[in-house]
């Protein structure tokens, strides 16, 4: 199955247009034509032409930027559709499908009727489709791209062998125009001149070398839904339905040894409005009994309106969660409970606001630790600090003082303080490889100052830019 105009057909399915239409792709510095509709091709345009030239040829040209990722998704959808004909469907390039219909054609009443059905359905869907049927994958490709129907393979040009231009042109110069010519030629000189690819492709087309169709398996879809005959509105009912869906979803997760990290519950109301409850879990989970209570808060906030008639549960982010032996590790229970708590707190203030401290490798006090989201990091020990550090740290607050010894008396936060003992200095140099605004003043000499009033402060002096600041308070 070859969809020669897959991209433009996809766009034109959304809006009917009776004019030459092209999709353009930015290549280098210019927009080039990527996919054309039949009218544009009739106007003499071709793929790879620059858009400016095409405009000159055809002033009423309608163009849109191409979106290859959407096309790929569309082709994947078509692949799923094509599984109605046979279970063995693979992708062929960016715009084709390859179906292994061996043993499946008779279900459709023979190959002819099956092809007719394909053509009819594709035409109804507004897709240009070219079909090729052959005993091998190469033969089918050749007929789809270069043939019109059931003509013998030997009559097709050599380009139908999936050879690129650089090989086809010399072959044609040698007078080997069709596949039949090629297969009648001595093989050894061909290999010597063109490399092994020509004969490999030829053999694949003629069936001498096998070529498998490799169907791509669908990634598992973690979504379940339920539609109700009568709309529901009570929280208890919604929770009961959620429990049922969760059971099914978790079963699927267990089969694939995966755990959900983010879940989305979509509640569709009878007036077609839909409400969503998002649940972000602190750890990958697949235990319905543990996940269900976490939904309570979100579900209670939903406005049911005139009732909810469909509910859909989807695991948006899934992580691997191998099956674990349980029964021997009671210590894990506490960790799981803590994760549940983090999730519950996270539903209120956001999972990124539940934090933990991780040690960092820096002498700069502000950078000697990292604050990381607790849900996405593991606890790390290994805090070592050779010198006492304050318990509290704040942005530097200037105090009056001169000289390189701490001031004997100073005012800080409207308190008159008197230095009783000063310990230091400890010199910390800025990390020159990082451009930090706060460290522009240069070196810092840190002092621990015990005041007679009791407060034990962490002061620093900046010798290169004289000034005194308070940055922390000791225990």
């Amino acid at each position: 199955m070859w969809f020669p105009r897959l991209a433009s057909d996809r766009v034109l399915r959304g809006q009917a247009l009776d004019a030459p239409f092209v999709l353009t792709l930015r290549q280098g510095n210019s927009d080039r034509l990527h996919c054309l509709n039949a009218r544009a091709e009739a106007a003499g345009l071709h793929r790879g032409m620059s858009l400016a030239d095409a405009r000159a040829f055809c002033p009423n040209l309608v163009s849109r930027p191409a979106r290859p990722e959407h096309d790929a998704r569309f082709l994947a959808a078509l692949r799923r559709w094509a599984m109605r004909y046979c279970p063995w469907v693979g992708l062929e390039g960016a715009d084709g499908l390859v179906l292994d219909v061996t043993g499946a054609a008779h279900l459709w009443g023979g190959e002819g009727t099956m092809l007719a059905d394909m053509r009819a359905r594709a035409a109804r869907a507004g897709l240009t489709l070219r079909l090729g049927l052959g005993g091998t994958r190469g033969a089918a490709w050749a007929r789809a791209h270069y043939g019109e129907g059931e003509e013998p393979l030997e009559a097709l040009p050599v380009a139908a062998l999936r050879l690129d231009e650089a090989i086809c042109t010399p072959l044609q110069r040698l007078g080997l125009r069709t596949i039949g010519d090629l297969s009648n030629t001595a093989r050894a000189p061909l290999v010597r001149r063109f490399g092994p690819e020509v004969l490999l492709r030829l053999d694949q087309a003629l069936g001498a070398v096998p070529e498998a169709v490799s169907p791509r398996s669908d990634p598992p879809h973690y979504g379940v839904r339920q539609t109700f005959p009568e709309p529901i509105g009570l929280v208890a009912d919604v929770m009961a339905a959620t429990a049922r869906l969760l059971e099914a979803l978790c079963h699927k997760l267990r089969q694939h040894e995966a755990g959900a990290r983010r879940l989305m519950l979509t509640l569709r109301r009878v007036d077609q409005g839909s409400q969503q409850v998002e649940l972000r879990l602190a750890a990958a989970m697949r235990d319905p009994a543990r996940i269900l209570p976490l939904f309570e808060r979100g579900v209670a906030e939903v406005d049911a309106g005139f009732g909810i008639d469909q509910i859909r549960l989807e695991a948006i982010v899934v992580e691997r969660l191998p099956a674990r032996q349980h029964g021997f590790a009671p210590a894990r229970h506490g960790a799981e409970q803590l994760n549940d708590l983090i999730t519950r707190i996270g539903t209120r203030i956001g999972l990124e606001n539940v934090l933990r401290f991780l040690p960092a490798d820096s002498h700069i006090p502000e950078r000697s630790f990292i604050i990381a989201s607790a849900a996405y990091s593991a606890a790390e020990s290994g805090w070592s600090c050779p010198r006492p550090r304050p318990l509290r740290l704040f942005p530097p607050e200037p105090v009056a003082g001169t000289g390189s010894r701490p001031p004997m008396r100073f005012r800080w936060r409207r308190m008159a303080l008197e230095t009783a003992r000063a310990t230091g200095p400890e010199r910390i140099a800025p990390e020159w490889w990082l451009n930090d605004e706060n460290w522009r003043v240069g070196l810092r000499d840190y002092w621990r100052v015990d005041t007679r009033q009791g407060r034990r402060l962490w002061l620093f002096h900046t010798p290169q830019n004289p000034g005194w600041f308070v940055q922390g308070e000791f225990a």
Binding site: E380, W383, P388, A420, D450
Partner: protein, 195 residues
């Protein structure tokens, strides 16, 4: 024994406690060190003073501390209540910025009782709630003897099931213990009151 009553420490679990004064954070760190298990520290995101984990390491392993950063006090209280009720964390420290009313204080107290966890409110002076079990005032004290001292004066100013009192304490970083010391130059018994 210099004091009329022994220091009521460690604090009672499954209760709310409050601490004010300049040494409140140190008090909380010592309570956390003694509590064991995971500690949840709830604070509002805009507060400028931050915990400094290398300094916290003198009291407890900072890996045991989880910080919840909230937008406002309502969220702080909700998070604290949730955590207290759950009981998987041993201590919940809440930094509050406006006075707790009776209902909020009582709800925290009930949550602590339900979960069996201890709650500690760091309050600005005079913003406590009536539902709390104890209220402390902690202030650092200058120690002429030791260079890197953590000498503090802890005063209990509200106690539902005991008497008031004031003690000078010092945290021993090596032994991870709290020592009650006699204040220099003060006569024994002057700080104690009541029974």
């Amino acid at each position: 024994m210099f004091y009329a009553s022994p220091l009521p420490f460690p604090l009672r679990v499954a209760r709310m406690h409050e601490v004010c004064g300049p040494g409140a954070v140190t008090f909380a760190a010592i309570v956390a060190a003694k509590a064991g298990g995971t500690v949840l520290w709830v604070r509002e995101g805009w507060l400028p003073e931050a915990l400094h984990p290398p300094g916290l390491a003198a009291f407890l392993d900072p890996a045991r501390v989880l910080v919840a950063r909230t937008d406002n006090q309502t969220d702080s209280l909700a998070v604290a209540e949730e955590a207290l009720k759950d009981g998987v964390v041993s201590l919940v420290v809440i930094e509050i910025t406006r006075p707790l009313d009776l209902r909020e204080g009582r709800r925290l107290q009930l949550a602590a009782k339900a979960g069996g966890a201890m709650g500690l409110c760091l309050i600005p002076e005079g913003m406590g709630s009536n539902a709390t079990e104890t209220r402390w005032r902690a202030a650092p004290v200058f120690d002429p003897e030791h260079g890197d001292s953590t000498l503090m004066r802890w005063e209990i100013i509200k106690n539902k099931s005991g008497t008031f009192g004031a003690w000078h304490v010092r945290w021993d970083e090596q032994a991870h213990r709290l020592h009650v010391v006699s204040p220099v130059g003060e006569r024994p018994g002057s700080a104690g009151s009541g029974a």
